[in-house]
Symmetry: C2
């Protein structure tokens, strides 16, 4: 049952009206968590807690039900007509990377609150409860070292966190384990592990997350909004190595060398060619070797390099492309090993599955853009998001990207509030009735 033309117009006006609330929240957040030009809101740390306190107060002011779960995630609920039906959820995270930008994460929670305020103001009563989730510790890779599964807050809520993560993950700031760090903020991690998941696929009809784009695609396309088609999976070599032989770079003929750097350069060139081939075929892929280098304790201008260390980060929406690239790396390495007398070690090279966004949601998002006169394009998400955890447990999930310049995870994030308003209109339209 779609909104009427009048309802849609009222909702749009109400969203624009709620931008005062949104700007106020963004401004307070930027001021109160300011750090060296950017913001710092540590996962299970002071900045994140401050944001949670601020947003809970704002949600209460809007007359929403405010609850939390055992992992410290917060839920702001606008009741629907059928309170026993599975709820429609939106949200994002309130933590940030160290000295990051103000919008990565927070924009999704602000948009959720602004949408709820607008739905109320437009006098629309949604069919089901509409809940905004303020999620903990999405940026945990920047805050916790040691083995953990990432997206700690959402995974804890969805029953995906394993007990050993509480011990293995160690906070880079405090040196405390995840369990100790949670306890420092009044949480009871043992109780969390013993309890059933706070959210199951039965409780949640749909999850939709608004987030700033972390790349330049929408800026380049001069388009304010992106309908996310999926979240790229990846295949990665975290501790890649080529072993050759250190020898005299003047006296040893080329044919007698085992040059680790030339071998590594050939591998990259082969992967770069395969990447271009995937793109030429219309496939989705990105590829980089972010760390790549000789050993500073051993290398010299006048030595043939005998060792090279590297990482590979290959991402795609298509698991077949990830497999193809891994196979390309392995077969290129085997050929180079034979020819150059070197040894490659990829040290693992696992595949993490891509997430495909709910087809129904994507169709509805495009209908919404049509109804609201918003220009949008399809876009892939290169970074991971909490939405993929909801998808993992079987909740139909989707994402809206808002145009943002200068990428994310830095102080220079630049989202225009006018673009944010368009994204929030689309989110409100989806939450009010479409989902």
């Amino acid at each position: 049952m779609a909104l009427t033309q009048t309802e849609t117009e009222s909702l749009t006006k109400a969203v624009d009206g709620s931008m005062t609330l949104a700007e106020g929240l963004f401004d307070r957040l930027a001021t109160e968590t300011a750090d060296g030009g950017g913001v710092t809101r540590a996962s299970y740390g002071d900045g994140e807690q401050l944001a949670h306190d601020m947003f809970a107060e704002s949600a209460r002011d809007l007359g929403l039900d405010v609850t939390t779960d055992l992992a410290g995630n917060a839920y702001y609920t606008l009741p629907g007509r059928d309170r026993s039906a599975p709820q429609v959820m939106t949200g994002s995270h309130l933590d940030s990377v160290p000295k990051g930008g103000n919008f990565d994460g927070a924009a999704g929670v602000v948009a959720g609150l602004a949408a709820q305020a607008a739905i109320k103001a437009a006098g629309i009563e949604p069919a089901r409860d509409v809940t905004v989730m303020a999620i903990r510790s999405e940026e945990c890779s920047s805050w916790f070292r040691g083995r953990h599964g990432g997206h700690l807050g959402s995974r804890a809520a969805l029953g995906l966190m394993k007990p050993e993560e509480l011990k293995n993950a160690v906070h880079l700031g405090t040196g405390k384990t995840l369990g100790e760090q949670m306890a420092a903020y009044g949480l009871d991690p043992e109780k969390l592990m013993a309890a059933p998941p706070h959210l199951t696929a039965q409780d949640v009809a749909a999850y939709i997350e608004l987030h700033i784009e972390q790349g330049p695609v929408l800026v380049s396309a001069e388009t304010p909004v992106g309908v996310v088609t999926g979240i790229r999976g990846n295949t990665r070599s975290r501790d890649g190595r080529v072993l050759g032989e250190y020898t005299h770079s003047g006296a040893v003929p080329q044919s007698h060398r085992h040059d680790a750097v030339l071998a590594g350069a050939e591998l990259l060139t082969a992967l770069d060619r395969e990447t271009e081939a995937v793109l030429a075929e219309g496939g989705d892929i990105v590829f980089a070797a972010g760390k790549f280098g000789t050993d500073p304790d051993m290398h010299s201008l006048s030595k043939v390099p005998g060792e090279l260390n590297f990482t590979l980060d290959i991402r795609s929406l298509d698991v077949a492309t990830l497999t193809r690239m891994r196979e390309c790396a392995e077969s290129a390495a085997a050929e180079i090993e034979t020819r150059r007398g070197v040894q490659f070690d990829f040290g693992g090279f696992g595949v993490s599955q891509p997430t495909v966004m709910a087809e129904d949601h994507c169709r509805l998002l495009h209908e919404g853009c049509q109804a609201l006169g918003i220009s949008a394009i399809d876009i892939a998400s290169g970074g991971g998001h909490d939405a993929q955890e909801f998808d993992r447990i079987g909740v139909p999930s989707s994402m809206i990207f808002v145009r943002n310049d200068h990428g994310s995870h830095n102080a220079d994030e630049a989202m225009e509030i006018a673009d944010f308003a368009l994204g929030t209109r689309l989110l409100a339209w989806m939450l009010a009735d479409a989902l």
Copy 2:
């Protein structure tokens, strides 16, 4: 005037007899300058001084004239029939790299003394004075940082050292300047700079240096002796850099990236292809990028690399090949810069001229091998040697390489004394009469 058959046979026997002297010198040297499995004979340092004292004593025992110059180089002279004619010289250096091998350098001085002893023992009186030069500080690149022209001992003797090198070169062990370091061993660097060159092209009819091979060519060819055709020149980038842009390795499409590592890998692949082309055409070349890497303070698995630092060391006997390779690097870089939106900086990229050994010497060396029944091949020198400084001032110069396993500049140098005896026979034959 060639040696008679009988003289040649006497000389050969006498050289074999002088191997007792040679082995004694090698053994004492290895014992008295031993350091961590190898030997350490610092340029203008204690180990070098010890070797000079030991060899001067040995030269006096052989009845040779022993003199030194203002740079501390020593000269052991066997008088010839015409004492006023320009002398024939041989020699090499007595210093070593830190924890290096016993033969790099010393073998040339030991061979000279053994050849002089054998010429005397065989009752041959050479036409001209035959002088062995025990040279200082050839391994100065391993001992002195700061701007200096290398091969300090021979360049000082030949008038090629500039006054500023005395101040600019700083000893890595003592922190003293070259001038201070020389003074610590009783030398007077100011007097050295004020005096005319100790040796000029008018004083020296020929210079021939025996040295261990520093690569695997003679071992691979199963040949004990190499006739050096030239010393490779080089074109080098010591502080190469590619500047791109650090961005998110998942969210930024491939077409929007400025990846410094992929740019650098392409450069190496282009230079590797050109190297193979030179070799296929029968040209002489070696090429390596000994240092190559991203910035450890900035790089990450999940960032597109925005900077890469590298060195290039390209060597050849042919200056046209060096120019061709430098042009290849520059044109490949220009093309990659345009396509990838990155910036290359080679930071200099000068060409140092190759040295071509005296054609007459090379012909005579092959005649000597024929006369003496020694199996030899032509070989290029990849490393630099004092012989190139003699060539530079116009003295006809040449080198004999002796087979040696495991390269040089390490404790594992492995020259067989039987191979050394063959090289010394050839050297003695050249010094006795041929040159």
